[in-house]
Symmetry: C2
Subunit: 322 residues, 2 copies
């Protein structure tokens, strides 16, 4: 059977079955943003992300510094999605001949810039030559007093998003269209804002997690990531299209390009914003976009017109953390 | 500057300088087999290894099961090299279209076989599609009561090797020559023994570490790995060629092929045997092949004829853990 037939999430479930562990100390394993392990000094989180040239990035429109920044950012986002604080980063690099020393120095300048921001320590890794393009793999550990898994959503919980959605997908669209690198984001025009959101996303943790029942970071796109929470929690969701947060910059850029910003916000992916459910009504910092329902389906409410989505309907085999 | 000009170990030193951490809890960072971090519940070890198709393995002469076995084995070897016990394994896979579901099932059968042997739990990872061949990255954590770094060797210490050297390199030579997969190793002829040592190395920990001052696993080849210990410990070494442990199987196979087994044992690499220094004379389980000297050079003693090696002389840019 080809992998495209069972899909990525089908594969992850298969792997999870093969590796089902009886470890008593394992809190969440394969199938969440990060693995979590019980530990005498608080829960240990581990997440790993691979970035492959031509699949995840294109050196014709990202600088090495931007790439390094994003590389650590997406790992930090996974730790935040578990309610954790990042700690140690281990890097593996597969280096093709074309990579120069100054490229690696630039890459590390980007990694170090965001590492400093979030107090992450780079402690080791592996370098090797590659005949297959430039490949990066990062593993980030973290700590959490209380793990927030994907699986805790309950009927009646509100669904919240922290930050605007769709900018990154629009940024990627522009980068692909023009195929050029951007070296400075100043002055920050709407175009440069969405491009920066794609090239250098900066994750933001939840400051306050009381009442939060489940969480994920939006990397595959809002609807897919809502479906991950629903799958793991065995519930459904109603999403109100008109409540989905879209930035002013995205509205401006999409208006000019004749693109519906909501499609990007719902399906674009690589937003690295937190999506979570809460049993309390939150007043600040996050936007309520829907609620959890009992029936295992996802309903998108567009000004009162409801349509149900089958989770299988928007599965892809692209990239996903488990 | 091209990376080949500064070499892999030069690059690792550069990276180490860029990331020099003031973390008080960091015991050993970039430049050892695994990173080690102080922790209330014993020292936490983290190691990461990337394997890239065509660079590290060739699907024309390894099965997926053998690949999975080796993939975890080389990570376990890094944890053993720090004096640790492996615990949790996180896997990232970059999957090209040609990979089938049964390939992944076989891969996990190999990973699970060795995981069971050493009580390693597979807890998570990342899957993504790859346009660049099959790529695996594994991150393994471990615990150690007492870390054994590369940097503790002192003048007068004996240099020891646990297990025979060179078999893996000869196995690779045979696999490349015949370009075929081996599906069974029974009956275990000398040829199949060296091929198995290449495809499915099984690391063996040191049972007894009292008096052990430094340790590394032999992945780059005996002489390079001796030089890593010497570099980090700021000492030199004398290696007695005639004391280097060579298996009977290797002697038989190299005799027939007209190859000097000592060259494979000294420079072959991928042995995944432990190389360590000890201030005590050990009686069992390991072979004494030389001693640490004050002067920072490596001398190979061939039946009384001595030759000095410059560490730069045998550096490559192939693969190495740091």
């Amino acid at each position: 059977m080809q992998l495209s037939e069972i899909g990525e999430f089908g594969l992850i479930k298969k792997i999870r079955d093969t590796c089902r562990s009886s470890a008593k100390d394992l809190i969440t394993g394969i199938g969440d943003d990060a693995a979590a392990v019980k530990n005498s000094s608080g829960d240990l989180l581990i997440t790993s992300d691979m970035m492959i040239e031509k699949t995840h990035f294109d050196l014709s429109y990202t600088t090495f510094k931007q790439l390094g920044y994003k590389f650590l950012a997406i790992n930090i986002s996974d730790i935040f999605a578990m309610g954790g604080t990042p700690e140690y980063f281990v890097i593996s690099l597969g280096l093709p001949d074309k990579i120069m020393l100054r490229d690696i120095e630039e890459l590390y300048a980007g990694i170090n810039a965001i590492a400093k921001k979030f107090n992450v320590k780079i402690i080791g890794g592996d370098t090797c030559s590659s005949k297959q393009g430039f490949i990066l793999n990062g593993t980030l550990t973290g700590r959490a007093k209380k793990i927030i898994p994907r699986s805790g959503a309950q009927k009646g919980d509100g669904i919240y998003v922290k930050g605007s959605l769709g900018d990154s997908a629009m940024g990627l669209y522009l980068l692909k269209k023009y195929g050029k690198k951007v070296h400075t984001f100043s002055p920050l025009t709407p175009r440069l804002k969405v491009i920066r959101d794609h090239l250098m996303p900066t994750p933001v943790p939840l400051a306050y997690t009381k009442g939060v029942t489940s969480m994920i970071d939006i990397s595959d796109g809002l609807l897919i990531d809502v479906s991950h929470i629903c799958d793991e929690s065995r519930v459904g969701a109603v999403i109100y299209e008109n409540l989905i947060p879209v930035s002013r910059a995205l509205r401006e850029v999409t208006d000019r390009a004749g693109i519906d910003p909501l499609i990007l916000a719902m399906r674009g992916g690589e937003d690295y914003r937190l999506l979570f459910t809460s049993r309390h009504r939150l007043r600040t910092g996050a936007v309520r976009i829907g609620e959890i329902i009992h029936k295992e389906r996802i309903i998108v409410d567009s000004k009162g017109r409801k349509r149900a989505l089958k989770p299988e309907g928007y599965e892809h085999f692209k990239d996903c953390s488990w």
